[in-house]
Amino acid sequence: MNRWLDRLITLLLAALIGWGGWSTLHWLIHGADWSVVTTNLPLYAVGSFPADQRWRPLVWMVGLVLLTVLTLLGPKRIGWRGALPLLWIAMAPIGLWLLVGGLGLLPVGTRDWGGLTLTLLLTAGSGMLALPLGVLLALGRRSALPVLRWSSTAYIELMRAVPLIAVLFFGQLLIPLFLPPGLEINRVLRAVVAFALFAAAYIAEDVRGGLQAIPPTQREAAEVLGLSPLQSLQLVVLPQALRIALPSLTNQAVGLLQNTSLMALLGLVELLGISRSLLANPAFIGRYLEVYLWLAAVYWLCCTAMALLARHLEVQLDPVRSNR
């Protein structure tokens, strides 16, 4: 009796999934009009970057893709693998130079930055600022000095109690009001700083979790060997704590990438912003489904690449596994 019921349910589910898959496929191929995506690929990639200079952000992104592939699939146990972390870090200043210009390149204003380039730049920039800040906050929260401990705790709790969008509005709209007239901080920079200030509070809690997992005997062992408190932190405690915090930090990085889409509400034309302005164009009116599906695919691709890289880093940093 039960077996027949099981078979019936299985059949029904299979039919439902089949029907859903078929109609989706049918729509994807016949129903959808992908011209809104195909004709605007450069816009999605680099925004309104001057056409003759588009190669600059493209070079940067191709570099990122190559580096990702090299890191994940490149041959193991070869000398240049040691240079990979340096190459990754170097991508930030190189990207900035390619976008800003100067030093032989034509300067390009930040209002012409956009698309995936801007999304990646916001993510990378705020992540690189937020990590050291988060580590300092986590250490501050565990400090023996009451003033340092209280102010770190207050900062973390305050930031976690405020929605990100409020922090971003504060960064974009309120900070300029407080600055003396004439002094203007760049819009993209304001966004990066606001993002970093917000993310640092969450990163601090992840790092604190890692710090708490290190038994106090590790610090004792370091002290007994004559290491100074700073050396013990730098050489013994932090390397272990950050490794433990890595999975949660990956989570934060993926969240950061997705949250950059909030900048569209503030007028930055990153990936979501550029899509919204395309949808406002009469030529592409009503093409919501195509555009948002395309966006979902791009975000998914970026997040998956980040998750894979993080997983790779975890394996690399696991001493026992990488030693085998």
Binding site: T217, Q218, E220, A221, A222, E223, V224, L225, G226, L227, S228, Q231, L235, V236, P239, Q240, R243, P319, V320, N323
Partner: protein, 247 residues
């Protein structure tokens, strides 16, 4: 005979009113092996942890290799002592993220500013001495407890200490791993190292110790040569403890 460690009237209490150390005085002479025994909670671990400043004192004073340490000591005084006094813990406390070689060379390179090549060469010598030279490139988690403890001894020796403190070095080991660690310590004692060893290993105490100190409730009950202590202990409390140890 020169004195390596002189303790005068040491007092330490974790909880107000309860003294973990209650007026402990003793001398450790250079080249001597002093074994400290006593029931758990008797203050023996606390005592040797005061010798390198891991436990700050509440009273009394210490003279470690001519350096003074008391309740009002400063961080730099403690660090000067730690550079000349090695310590081995019950739980090994190796750094899990560093290879065996890096565990041993970390302090010589970072604290004593020795050249990397020289520090590594010395580390290999010490590992050889401990009988685990082939483990140099592995990580702590890949070694047995006995091997890890021998690495910990090598790590402490890498700073060329004049005194070695052992805080129950075999208590966390599987029984069949105890001997290899005790052998390494025997070898060290034969080489003339000044050692203070907190342990429950009666055989080691009988064979290697120059003197045995028995502690109870934060006080020194007696200090005797091992022969007297094991066959004819002066104090009732020592005899009772030994009786329990031998079932």
């Amino acid at each position: 005979m020169t004195v390596a460690i002189r303790a005068t009237d040491l007092v330490k209490s974790y909880i107000p009113g309860v003294r973990a150390l209650d007026g402990v005085s003793l001398d450790v002479t250079c080249g001597e092996v002093l074994v400290v025994m006593g029931p758990s909670g008797s203050g023996k671990s606390t005592l040797i942890r005061t010798f390198n400043g891991l436990e700050p004192l509440d009273g009394g004073e210490l003279d470690v290799l001519g350096m003074r340490l008391d309740a009002a000591h400063e961080e730099h005084q403690v660090r000067a002592i730690r550079k000349r006094v090695g310590m081995v813990f019950q739980q090994f406390n190796l750094f899990p993220h560093l290879s065996i070689l890096d565990n041993i060379t970390l302090a010589p390179i970072k604290v004593q500013k020795r050249a990397k090549a020289a520090a590594e060469q010395r580390a290999i010598e010490l590992l050889d001495q401990m009988g685990i030279r082939e483990q140099a490139r592995k990580f702590p988690a890949q070694l047995s407890g006995g091997q890890q403890q021998r690495v910990a001894i090598a790590r402490a020796l890498a700073l060329d200490p004049e005194v070695m403190l052992f805080d129950e070095p075999t208590s966390a080991l599987d029984p069949e791993r105890v001997k290899e660690v005790l052998d390494a310590m025997r070898q060290l004692a034969r080489g003339g190292m000044t050692m203070v060893v907190v342990t429950h290993e009666l055989g080691f105490a009988r064979e290697v110790a120059d003197r045995v100190m028995f502690m109870d409730q934060g006080q020194v009950v007696e200090i005797s040569d091992p022969e007297t202590f094991f066959s004819n202990a002066k104090e009732e409390r020592s005899r009772k403890f030994l009786n329990q140890m031998q079932h």
